[in-house]
Symmetry: C2
DNA sequence: TTGAAAGCGTTACCAA
DNA sequence: TTGGTAACGCTTTCAA
């Protein structure tokens, strides 16, 4: 049968309470008994029963990290950084490690709520929500309510890359400056002389999509340049690929395309190449995110760099309570313009 | 205070046992009572206590998915597929959903063991280990022992992309045919006329590294072509970038480079471009994995395609017990050669 | 510094 | 079909 704490206690000739104290290390225990207990643990190959422990302590070692798309390195990088930060702080019950687990919502509000319920059920120590969220009012309300309940039950809530929900004061929030980043991206293209710029946007109902699009439009408006065509689609390659056909159909004279993120940008590039158009000769492509692979993939790409790793680490620390959130609970992560290769000035096409 | 099952029972005027039965749905309950209970659950906004449930039932809804690098889409794609497959089978306790969580080991054996212990502690329903493993005997032994203990405690163990450990009969294993895939990749280059082929390999002590390298050498041996330089490094871009300098230093006349995976291949490409070498004119690059982005990124790349999505789904189903493992517990996932763009025949360089 | 014992909230067995 | 009630394995006062 499985070894229990009582077995360890018997073997170490102490009470269960003492074993528990040794394991949790939050209590004074004589060094000699401590050693005896630890030896017994080793000899019996004892593993703490998590559920029992969590039940008694009314909290668990679980930290949930919700991401929109685990196959997208954008989230992978942040999640990885958060997990490292969470793994660092070893001081909890039963050995101290927190179990940082990432849950893939696939961008679906329903699955997001399901995961939140599951984590609530597990009495998770903390929950990190990564990436933009849907803006549908009913979903927002449901999420807000759920998060409030989690916070109320003692679960730390951290938002990373998504705007804080109204009235949700007890969640720390790290927001990306999507507007400014997007504005810079477009300003850069305008500075090169581009006047006919298409936009391959993300899904219409997401915060990131809206904010990036707003920044793009701000830049155009400020320069007095008329807005070019915009096409919405998923945050993936195929969407970029398909959007390109549509954009060129709407304006065959485009000299530049801004993509909602790097993955979309790659799809745009693929479509352009297929049509025999040079990048950035015939058409310049700019993207958001600056995923590590795009550096090598498309050397001529202009991107906006989000410090994903740093944001992830910070989110992890906030979740651990290792670091306190700023007063007001909101901090802005700035995007930085990165130009990889050729300048890509516009030229007329035949 | 938090609502308990007893509260629901009181409100529905039934016994706690009945509420439990309704919630788990594995027991006959009169439709009328059932509705009454469900209504009470709703009205009280009751959420099952996971730890208590797991303690009593001696198992949990948790399914752990261990990956070597969550920032690598190779794992992201598999993990995503596995999570979908796991989410599908809704029939467990308390609503039925399983909580599929991915844990990032970062390729570290220590973290791998830590996570396994954590999952063991949580009485996880299943554990999926994705990706190649370290071949150090002591780590292998430790892992084997841990997996045996998990299996013994009723946790389903699935290996995906890693060879089964000796004597570990109770783990279902999905192995990638890395050898054949790598052989095909090199055969393709040989078929194009390449005779001086460098190899940018992964870390020396990993199964995937060894198998792919073996396939590469098999192809060379069969063709009677002498082996070119090989450089080991991590499975990341930088490693590919750095390996390229070393490979070219060892043989400046290389006409082709095989990379241990696509990410490495991108690093190789970056290094080649930086040296003013055309791809695939001066040097052809071939990579393993076929990540979705490489298609657009380097259209001239030759890759070996692993059906990551399908493998992930299968792994998920095995973890759920929805599908039975093949007799012997071992199934092979074949790699398929994919030629993206130019043929890349060798040409002499000045 | 240590021990005794009362929960923690479910599940599942045994009756009814 | 339902109820009563021991577990389940740990944490945590309260005493000693």
């Amino acid at each position: 049968m499985t070894v229990t704490l009582a077995d360890v206690a018997a073997r170490a000739r102490v009470s269960p309470a003492t074993v528990s104290r040794v394991l949790n290390g939050n209590y004074p225990v004589a060094e000699s008994t401590r050693e005896r207990v630890l030896r017994a643990v080793d000899e019996l190959d004892y593993v703490l029963n998590g559920p029992a422990s969590s039940l008694a302590a009314a909290t668990s070692d679980l930290v949930g990290v919700l991401v929109n798309d685990i196959a997208d390195p954008f989230f992978g990088i942040m999640a990885s950084a958060a997990q490292s930060a969470i793994g660092e702080g070893a001081s909890g019950r039963g050995g101290g490690e927190k179990l940082a687990v990432v849950c893939n919502t696939g961008g679906s509000p329903a699955r997001e709520l399901t995961y939140l319920t599951l984590l609530q059920r597990q009495r998770a120590a903390a929950v990190i929500l990564m990436g933009g969220s849907l803006e549908a009012p009913e979903h927002l309300a449901a999420t807000t309510a759920k998060l409030a309940k989690l916070a109320e039950a003692g679960t730390r809530v951290v938002l990373c890359g998504r705007p804080p929900v109204t009235g949700d004061a007890n969640a720390a929030a790290l927001v990306f400056d999507n507007r400014t980043g997007a504005r810079r991206l477009t300003e850069h293209l305008l500075g090169l002389g581009h006047r006919r710029i298409g936009y391959a946007a993300g899904p219409g109902d997401r915060t990131t999509t809206r904010h990036r699009l707003e920044g793009h439009r701000d830049a155009l408006a400020a320069a007095g340049v008329p807005e070019g065509p915009t096409v919405h689609g998923a945050y993936d390659r195929r969407a970029g690929y398909e959007a390109t056909a549509e954009l060129l159909a709407r304006d065959p004279e485009l000299t530049a395309v801004v993509a909602a993120n790097d993955t979309v940008a790659l799809g745009v590039c693929a479509a352009l190449r297929e049509r025999g158009l040079d990048i950035p000769g015939d058409v310049s492509v700019a993207g958001f995110d600056d995923l590590p692979f795009s550096v090598d993939a498309v050397p001529s790409l202009t991107t906006v760099h989000l410090p994903l790793h740093e944001a992830g680490v910070r989110a992890g620390r906030l979740a651990m309570g290792t670091e306190e959130p700023l007063a007001g609970g909101l901090e802005q992560v700035s995007a930085e313009l990165v130009v990889r290769g050729s300048t890509g000035r516009p030229r007329t096409r035949g």
